[in-house]
Amino acid sequence: MSSNRWLATGNYFTSYEEEQRIFSTSLDRSVMCIFLFILFAWPLFLSVGNKYMLVIDNILVAVIAVIGLNLVTGFAGLISIGHAAFVGIGAYTVASFCRVLGDSHIIITHGWPLMIVVAGFMGALFGAIVGLPALRLKHLYLAIATLSFQMIFQWTINFMNFFDQGQTIPVGRVFWVTGKVARKEHYLFWYYVILVVIVILGFGVRNLLRTRYGRCLVAVRDNDRAADAMGMHPGFVKVYAFGLAGFCAGIAGALHAYLYRGVGIDSFTLHHSINYLAMAIVGGLGTLQGAFWGPLAIRVLDLQVERLSEWTGSHLTAATNLTTALRPLSFGLVIVLFLMFEPRGIANWWRIFRSYVKLWPFRY
C-alpha cells in the first residue's frame, strides 16, 4: 500500500487487520464523512414539500427493513418471504401500547425512543421464533415456512378486535426537547431520527460483518456442513440471523408507525414482503450498499410507474382497466431483468464505478 493513504490507488493489504478496516483509505473515510454531512445538512438549505419528505422518509424506513432482510437472506442465505410481517410486528408493538394506554400516553409521545427499541426486540423475538424451523428446513421449504408466518400474521391482525381488524390504529404526536413535534416539522423530524438509526445500524452491521459472528453468517450460507465442521453452530447462527433481521424489521415498523402516525395492516402484506425482497435483489444481495440502493431504485420506479398508470388511467375509458396491470408488470420486469443481467444488483455497478474512479486515469 502507498505510504500516503490519500494517494492510494488500490488496496494492498499487508495484514488481516488492514483488510478488516471499515474504510480502506482515508479518501473513503473522508468521502463518507462529507456524504453524511450532506445528508444531515441539506434540509437546512433546501426546502422540500411534505409530500417529498414523506417519500424520502419512506425510502429510509425501507432501507432499515432491507438491512435486516439482507442479513438473513443476503449474508446468511436464508430466504424470507415474510419480512413485512416482521416489520408489522414492530409497528403493531407500538399500536398495542396505543390501544392499551391511549395514543397520547406519555410512553408513546415522550418515550418513543424506548418504544422503537422495544419494537426492535419484539421483532427479534418473533424473528428468532420463526427462525426455529430453519434448524430443519432449507431453501424453498424455509421460504414456505416464512410465507406461512406472513399469512398467520395477516390473518391474526385482520380478525382480532384488539387490532381493530386491520384498520388504522392512531399513534400520537411525539415530543422532542423543543416540545411537541408539530405537523409542520413532522416529516423533517422523522427524517433526522430515521437517518440517525440508519447510521447506527449501518455501522453496526458493517462492524458485525468484521466479527466472527458476521463471518459465521457467510460461512453458514456458503456451506453449513463445512461451517459445522469448523466448530460453528449452524442452527444457532440461522436463528440469530432471523433474530437480527427481525430486530431491524421491528425498528423499521416502529418508525413507520410514528412516521404515518398510525398502523394499518395495508402496509404489512405479502405484497410488501415481495417488495422488500425485490429491493434486496435489485440493490444487491449480500452487500451493505445494496440495502441502500434497492429501496431507492424500487421506490423511484414505483413513483414513475404510478404517474404513468395514473395518466393512462385518466385517458383510457373505464371499460379498459389495463392500467391496473402496469405496476405489477413493470415491477416484475425489473426483477427479472436484474436477475438475468445483473444478479449482483446495483451494488455491483457502484463497485465498478468506484474501481474506475480509484484507478483513474489508468485503465488497469
Partner: protein, 408 residues
C-alpha cells in the same frame, strides 16, 4: 433615428401592458381542491367513473362560468386503494394549498382522520361508513351511511315479509367497510326490528358460492343482505340462479330474495351478473339513469359533452362523483355570494349551514343535502330499486330508515 426606435419600443410595451393587465385583472381566483382515489387497482371499477364525474362537473363549472371569472382546479390523483399513497397525495394537496378535500376509501378516510382534524379541512369521501364520523368534525358523508342503508333494507324486509319473523343472512366485504354496518343492524334488531340474523358471511375471493348458498338455504334463510362491491354479489347471484334459489317475487317462499347497499348495485352488477341480477333489490340515495329526471339529464349531457363512454355515463358512481363536486361548488358559491374569502374555514362554515331553507338540492339524488353541527350525513333519504328487464327501476317512494335514529 435612435429616438424614433425608442418611441416605437415604448408604444409596443404600452400596448402589451394594455392587453395583458386587464386580462390579469379579469382572470379571477383559482380555488384548489384535491381528490385521491382508486383510478386503477382494487375498486377502480367504481373509482374510475367517480373520478370522471368529479372532473367533468368541475370542467362544466369552469366552462359555463358558474363561479364568474373564478375557477376550480381539482387535482385528481390515483392512490390504487392504498392508504400510504392516499396519505402522500393528501400531503401533496396540502403543499399546493387546497381549500376542500375529496377522499375515497373507508380505510384511508379512517387513517387520515387525525390529519383532517389537525388541518381543519372539510372532507367529502366516497365512503359512507358511519365510523368515519366518530371523533371527527371535518368529515361529511355525501349520503346516508352504509349502516342506514342496511337498516333501511332490513326494515323493508320486515314490512314486506309475510308470515313470521324473516330469516336473514348478511353477505359482507372482509374489511371495515363491510363489517361496519353489521353491529348497527344488530343494534336495530335489539331495538325491536323483528328479523332473525342467521349468519354473517365474510366473502373471500370465492369464484363459487354454491356451498354457501346451499348452507344458507338449508338454514332457512329467506333474505340475503349484501354490503360489498358488485363482483362478489354477481358471483353469488349467478350461483343462486343456477341452483334455482333466486326468488322471482319479493319474499317468495322456499327461495332467497337478494338485496344490497350502494356499492353492490348499479349497471356494473347487471353487466356482470346478466339475467341473474333480475329481482335484485338495491338501495342508494342516487337517481339512476334508467329513471330519467333533471339530474340524470345533466349527468348524461355532461358525459356526452366530455366524451365519456356509455358505461361511465350511466354509472351511479359517475353520479356519485358529480354530486360531491356539486356540493363543493355550492359551498364555494355560497361563500362567494356572502363576500367571504374562500378558504377551509369559510367552506366548513357553509357546509355546516347547509340545512333548513339552505338545504341543497343537487337533483342527482332522491333528497336534499343537509349538514349541520350534529348531522354530517348529507342526503338522509334512500330509494329502493329493483332489477326488471336488466334495468334498475324504482320500487316505492324515497324513505328514511326509522331505526337509524333509534340506535344512536
Amino acid at each position: 433615428m435612435k429616438e424614433k426606435n425608442l418611441s416605437k419600443w415604448t408604444i409596443l410595451l404600452a400596448a402589451i401592458c394594455m392587453l395583458t393587465l386587464p386580462a390579469q385583472a379579469l382572470s379571477g381566483e383559482v380555488y384548489k381542491l384535491g381528490l385521491s382515489l382508486a383510478i386503477t387497482g382494487p375498486t377502480s371499477d367504481a373509482g374510475n367513473p367517480y373520478s370522471k364525474g368529479v372532473e367533468d362537473y368541475f370542467s362544466y363549472v369552469n366552462d359555463t362560468k358558474m363561479l364568474g371569472d373564478d375557477k376550480i382546479e381539482c387535482m385528481i390523483r390515483d392512490d390504487q386503494y392504498k392508504n400510504d399513497v392516499t396519505k402522500r397525495n393528501f400531503e401533496d394537496f396540502l403543499d399546493q394549498g387546497i381549500v376542500f378535500y375529496l377522499n375515497y376509501s373507508t380505510g384511508s378516510t379512517l387513517a387520515l382522520k387525525k390529519d383532517f382534524e389537525e388541518e381543519q379541512i372539510p372532507v367529502l369521501p366516497a365512503s359512507f361508513h358511519a365510523g368515519n364520523l366518530v371523533d371527527s368534525n371535518y368529515i361529511f358523508l355525501p349520503i346516508a351511511s352504509y349502516s342506514a342503508q342496511m337498516i333501511g333494507l332490513t326494515e323493508y324486509v320486515v314490512k314486506n315479509h309475510k308470515g313470521g319473523t324473516p330469516k336473514v343472512a348478511m353477505f359482507i366485504h372482509p374489511s371495515a367497510f363491510g363489517r361496519g354496518p353489521v353491529e348497527d343492524v344488530k343494534k336495530a334488531v335489539a331495538a325491536g326490528l323483528d328479523v332473525e340474523i342467521i349468519e354473517v358471511v365474510e366473502h373471500g375471493k370465492d369464484l363459487d358460492n354454491t356451498a354457501m348458498l346451499k348452507r344458507l338455504s338449508g338454514k332457512g334463510v329467506q333474505y340475503v343482505l349484501s354490503h360489498t362491491v358488485q363482483s362478489p354479489v354477481a358471483t353469488m347471484l349467478k350461483d343462486a340462479s343456477s341452483l334455482g334459489l333466486v326468488a322471482s317475487s319479493f319474499g317468495e317462499e322456499g327461495k332467497i330474495t337478494f338485496l344490497g347497499a350502494h356499492y353492490t348495485g348499479g349497471n356494473d352488477l347487471v353487466a356482470l351478473a346478466g339475467d341473474s341480477a333480475e329481482n335484485f333489490y338495491w338501495t342508494t340515495s342516487y337517481i339512476v339513469t334508467s329513471e330519467p329526471g333533471e339530474g340524470t339529464d345533466l349527468q348524461l349531457a355532461l358525459a356526452t359533452k366530455y366524451n365519456r363512454d356509455e358505461k361511465a355515463a350511466n354509472s351511479h358512481n359517475y353520479a356519485n362523483g358529480m354530486m360531491v363536486a356539486q356540493v363543493a361548488t355550492e359551498v364555494i358559491k355560497r361563500a362567494k355570494s356572502k363576500g367571504k374569502e374562500i378558504n377551509k374555514e369559510t367552506l366548513y362554515e357553509e357546509l355546516l349551514g347547509m340545512n333548513g331553507d339552505n338545504a341543497f338540492s343537487p337533483k342527482t339524488t332522491v333528497g336534499d343535502v343537509t349538514f349541520s353541527e350534529t348531522d354530517h350525513a348529507g342526503v338522509d333519504t334512500l330509494q329502493l330499486y329493483v332489477v326488471k328487464d336488466n334495468k334498475f327501476m324504482s320500487e316505492g317512494s324515497p324513505f328514511i330508515p326509522e331505526y337509524t335514529s333509534k340506535i344512536e
